[in-house]
Subunit: 250 residues, 2 copies
Amino acid sequence: MMETILNHRSVRNYSDKPVPQDILDKILEAGTRASTTGNMQVYSMVVTRNRHIREKLWEAHFKQNMVLEAPVHITFCADFNRFNKWCRQRKADPGYDNFLSFFTAAIDALLVSQNVALAAEAHGLGICYLGTVTYMTDKIIDILGLPASVVPVAAMVTGYPAKETELTDRLPLNGVVHYEKYADYNENDIDTIYAGKENSELTARLLEENKKETLAQIFTDNRYPKKDNVFFSKQLLEVLKKQGFMNNGE
Amino acid sequence: MMETILNHRSVRNYSDKPVPQDILDKILEAGTRASTTGNMQVYSMVVTRNRHIREKLWEAHFKQNMVLEAPVHITFCADFNRFNKWCRQRKADPGYDNFLSFFTAAIDALLVSQNVALAAEAHGLGICYLGTVTYMTDKIIDILGLPASVVPVAAMVTGYPAKETELTDRLPLNGVVHYEKYADYNENDIDTIYAGKENSELTARLLEENKKETLAQIFTDNRYPKKDNVFFSKQLLEVLKKQGFMNNGE
């Protein structure tokens, strides 16, 4: 268990060896054992193997190679559609068209996704989460035919790795853990916490490639700039509204 | 690995046996191996053992017994505070005060939480997520002293179980998995998917206790009623604004 967790790396190169259905079933079943609010299971997993649909997903996910390479694509959705239908068929009036309900369902779906990731790795598969999912919810809704009350919140490719991948660095544990209460960071703390990352060979290479003075600037100017975040924030909030999750009684 | 995942149950009764720090460290370290957007690690874990603070958390979490019983309380936070400070100390201008950034950080924190849950269980501990966290973010922010750009998104108690707990039921796998695209549910699908749950002894007992005609009504009328969801939706959105995550360029 601990070995699987500690050995996780995001795999971005896949062989064309298919994933057997019985292994996939075990992995998906593992997903469903995650904690779920009130045992409501307000999520769905959409498993896509079809090449034609994966090509559309590849376009939505910024044309990242691994989306075409990996034989299996799983989209994890916050899903109140099934639960709402059940309520209506059982003389019950569902009140789950609001932001809290969306967030509850998103938590459910994300815990499922991490169980699936670890179960896949325990079976010798590689996985990579696609951070692009929250940028492109509208396109993914369209491609996968997601109805109202369903919003994709995580996406993952999986398959057998084509090559070994290095373990990535992490901040020191005491940089992300607080005891009793939150102890805010002073300048010296920040210097200490980020020193290892800043002094790595990877960072030296990135600074040279991107012609930047600091690693932080690569994040703020190139990778996650404000204008993109604002654009995608508006889009995501519009999608929540369109899918029926923003009736907050105002 | 699979055994740990498949044996998960939420533990609500704890012995007073303390959790050794070296085991806790391993569990928290396991958390940090989860995938994280752009390797930014935009989360924090706040570990609370202090009885006095746990009493305050117990009050915030609807006075659930297990919050007092379990020796360790972990609050998982979406956290851009550390990252923003780092950016500002490195001549970089962070643009992470928007909804997308909050949601990115929430995803990070939730994947961490599930690794921590499984690592705890692999070490013989029990865990229980506290769904009340998203209702009470404002109180928890106050108790734990969370600064701007930090929002709690998951909370968990952990410790050694005081007694055996039964595995809870789940919907059949094909009720939550879709292949290729989303296949929407018809009436018959809904009947089939929920049949096992509806015909269980637990449901019979709940219907009797709650004097309700259907299980769905227990959810809509008693456990998660619309008026509560709307109230907590507003509150959560206000907290996101207050913590500086709703500057979406409007």
